[in-house]
């Protein structure tokens, strides 16, 4: 073994040592950096969630000691659903009403906001003058408080408000009382939600679109594909992972909607309970009916609903990574 070889072996060993030490230090630093966020998440996220699960088996009124009731809180939920299915009035089956409304709301909002966000992103991705202005104006609702947005829309949706004024230019006889008519309330809330969230998801789509290679479009152009065909056959398929992401996030947001309903319909869900949601019902159960145990059980139901629906969707449409 030559001297130089021994030397080089030695240096490489010590180098590796240094590298390893560096790695463990990096790991330590990484742990330290995430410790604050993780700590907060454990206390306010996981602890709260597990406590809610625990609470769902107890009867409690905030003051007296907690009393274990087994599955009685869940039985109350299923009684409510059963009554609702058998056609009870909305105020006698509030949880069923909330569930029915929120499913309809999700079915309206999620597809619409996803498609709209994609179209807006396609426009924002063009090289046209003032595109920055459009991007900012689309995104603006995403940084505005939903409560403020809802308050402004209540005003726009009034019977003699701006929205009916615009509609009457096209359909003169159509002037619904959006907020006070149970047939229109949920649609009014959905429109506000779509308006408020499309801009946010547009940014996600825009980022994904900008990562699509220009070559693909150029090849398609040479083959004679027009802009609409290019959008349908190139942009949309290549955006699939982002679509899944947007739909999943949209579903999570829509199923637990609270703020818009609270402001636009009120805590009782407005006329005919048309704006009543599961989140409103959970709130009322906890703070009006003073049954935090039942509220916790209802929130477990909502969690299972959100978890399974998003899981199934992801599983079905997940893009296999090569």
């Amino acid at each position: 073994m030559s001297k130089s070889r021994v030397f080089s072996l030695h240096t490489s060993l010590s180098l590796r040592k240094i590298l390893e030490r560096r790695k463990s230090r990096e790991a330590l630093e990484a742990l330290l950096l995430i410790s604050v966020a993780t700590g907060l998440n454990i206390v306010f996220g996981y602890f709260a969630a597990f406590f809610a699960f625990y609470l769902s088996f107890f009867k409690w009124d905030y003051i007296s000691p907690m009393e274990f009731v087994g599955l009685r809180n869940y039985q109350i939920i299923f009684n409510d659903l059963w009554k609702g299915i058998n056609g009870a009035y909305y105020f006698l089956a509030p949880f069923y009403t909330g569930l029915k409304n929120i499913l309809l709301y999700t079915a309206i909002v999620v597809p619409t906001q996803t498609i709209l966000a994609m179209i807006l992103a396609a426009f924002a991705n063009q090289k046209i003058r003032g595109v920055q202005f459009y991007k900012v104006s689309y995104f603006l609702p995403a940084v505005t408080s939903p409560v403020i947005i809802a308050l402004i829309f209540i005003w726009l949706f009034m019977k003699n408000g701006f929205i009916n004024y615009m509609i009457q230019m096209i359909v003169p006889s159509f002037a619904p009382d959006w907020i006070n008519d149970r047939n229109y309330l949920l649609y009014a809330i959905s429109m506000v939600a779509i308006w408020g969230t499309s801009g946010h998801f547009m940014v996600s789509f825009l980022a994904a679109m900008q990562s699509i290679s220009r070559d693909v479009y150029e090849a398609a152009m040479l083959d004679g594909a027009g802009p609409i065909r290019r959008f349908i056959y190139i942009t949309v398929p290549l955006l699939k992972p982002m679509i899944v992401y947007v739909v999943v996030l949209g579903m999570i947001g829509a199923l637990q909607m609270f703020d818009l309903a609270w402001v636009m319909a009120g805590s009782n869900g407005g006329p005919g309970g048309a704006g009543y949601t599961m989140a409103l019902d959970i709130y009322n159960e906890a703070f009006i009916n003073l049954r935090p145990g039942v509220a916790a059980a209802k929130s477990m139901f909502l969690f299972v609903l959100i978890f399974t629906s998003t899981y199934i969707f992801q599983k079905k449409y997940k893009v296999m990574r090569q």
Binding site: E29, L32, D61, Y62, I63, Y89, L92, S267, P271, I288
Partner: protein, 468 residues
């Protein structure tokens, strides 16, 4: 690279420092918690630590000769605006001057007050003295959350209050668990100018006249005669009681039979029809509605609709008086609008009464200090400042009824004669029942369900709420 390394080093040191500080703080906090006999944080722990700190500072800054053990009590209320908060702060400092060994911490909870208080009981940090609405009183009394205030104050002090205001705060043991801080009652507000335009010289005296006048006003002035809320079980109550219905009390599912009473059925139908016939059917015929909801005339609530002069009459409480004075200063009491008693029915005249008490936490460490404070705030001197001069509500002690500082509108409302004062309290679940029965009423008023269906649904609501 060198710069990066230096930066990395600084960041690491900073993070470690922050964590160390946090750890030390946690240890200190933990050990101070351990010093108190109870392990869980309770209101008493907080009071205790504050007391210690205060004693120390007093020793340092003041004379060093006497050490006064200062007691801290926490007082929580909601606020009817900045003026009220300032007035309370003034009264508190006055109280602290006369009672140098007691300090009061005033905590204003602006939103969802009782929910917050309940949650603070859950967390063991409830205030010593707090506001208590009648509709929440049974919940707090039932759970043993309140100190029996009648054990602490003299009978002479209690005798100063209107008897009917004490009723809702009585426990099953006949002890008092709260003392009313002020009160309001319903009355009829009417717009004199619109009455004049319609050729009417006096306010309606009976329920039938109320509808007739509302219709005349709508026909002659083109403005709705009356505004009511969609729903509002408590606003319907005077109609039922003044026509002979029994006082409602929902404690058991079988109490739903109250809705089987023919008087209740008739009066409920009448009330629902006020809107169904007065708004919906009138509009279908192309006529001006004679009864509307505030939102129908672009108003947020009855006071707003009346102040904007969009309607000629509303039945509302004393709280509307300062609102009108503040928001519509050109719309003058006496010249433009006036008040009258709530219309009477076949069996007399009934009004609704709304009151809020001051209650003492059952777990307070300083019941005597809390009592002193309650006596100071609720006594004639305290109420003169906080209630009479403020002009928001009526004083709960009888001796102030003729106080020269009382607003003329409030004074007039106190002169109205009623056969019955019904307190806003329908049983242990008043809040939930009020909200759900009102929902059913609103649904019927909008014509979504029939009146018989609505009455049946109200019974089901009572049965469901009380059986769960």
């Amino acid at each position: 690279m060198k710069y990066y390394k230096a930066l990395e080093k600084t960041v690491s040191i900073l993070i470690i420092a922050v964590i160390l500080i946090a750890a030390v703080a946690a240890v200190i906090w933990y050990t101070t918690q351990q010093q108190v006999p109870e392990a869980s944080p309770s209101p008493t722990t907080i009071i205790k630590t504050e007391t210690q700190v205060q004693t120390q500072t007093q020793v340092q800054t003041e004379t060093q000769t006497t050490i006064v053990e200062k007691m801290f009590i926490r007082f929580a209320g909601w606020s009817a605006g900045e003026t009220e908060m300032k007035n309370y702060q003034r009264i508190i400092s006055l109280f602290e001057q006369t009672n140098p060994n007691i300090a009061v911490k005033y905590e204003v909870i602006t939103q969802m007050f009782h929910e917050n208080i309940l949650a603070s009981y859950g967390a063991g940090v409830a205030p010593d003295v707090f506001y208590l609405d009648t509709s929440w009183a049974p919940i707090f009394i039932d759970k043993g959350a309140l100190y029996p205030i009648s054990d602490l104050v003299s009978q002479d002090f209690i005798n100063q209050f209107y008897d009917f205001l004490l009723e809702p705060f009585k426990g099953p043991d006949d002890k008092l668990y709260g003392l009313p801080k002020d009160w309001s009652m319903l009355m009829l507000f009417y717009n004199k100018k619109l009455f004049e335009q319609a050729g009417l010289s006096s306010p309606p005296d009976t329920w039938d006249e109320l509808v007739r006048y509302a219709e005349i006003i709508a026909n002659k002035t083109g403005k709705p005669g009356l505004a009511i809320y969609l729903g509002g079980f408590n606003r319907y109550m005077p109609v039922a009681l003044s026509n002979g219905a029994s006082k409602p009390w929902f404690d058991d599912p079988s109490d739903a039979s109250w809705f089987d009473n023919p008087v209740v059925k008739d009066t409920m139908a009448w009330y629902i029809n006020l809107y169904k016939e007065g708004k919906i059917e009138r509009e279908n015929k192309g006529l001006t509605p004679y009864a509307v909801a505030p939102q129908d005339v672009g108003a947020g609530w009855l006071g707003d609709a009346f102040g904007k002069q969009e309607v000629a009459m509303v039945i509302s409480g004393n709280w509307m008086i300062p609102f009108l004075a503040d928001q519509y200063p050109d719309f003058k009491f006496g010249e433009d609008w006036d008040i009258a008693p709530v219309p009477r029915g076949s069996q007399g005249r009934v009004t609704m009464v709304y009151t809020v008490a001051l209650a003492i936490n059952a777990k307070t460490e300083h019941p005597d200090a809390a009592t002193k404070f309650v006596e100071f705030v609720l006594g004639p001197e305290g109420q003169k400042e906080l209630v009479v001069k403020m002009g928001h509500t009526l004083p709960s002690v009888r001796s102030l009824a003729n106080d020269p500082d009382m607003w003329p509108q409030h004074k007039k409302s106190l002169l109205f004669q009623y056969d019955q004062y019904q307190i806003f309290l329908w049983g242990p679940k008043t809040g939930e029942l009020e909200s759900k029965i009102s929902d059913v009423m609103a649904s019927a008023m909008r014509g979504e369900i029939g009146i018989d269906e609505a009455l049946e649904a109200m019974k089901q609501v009572v049965q469901q709420v009380l059986s769960e």
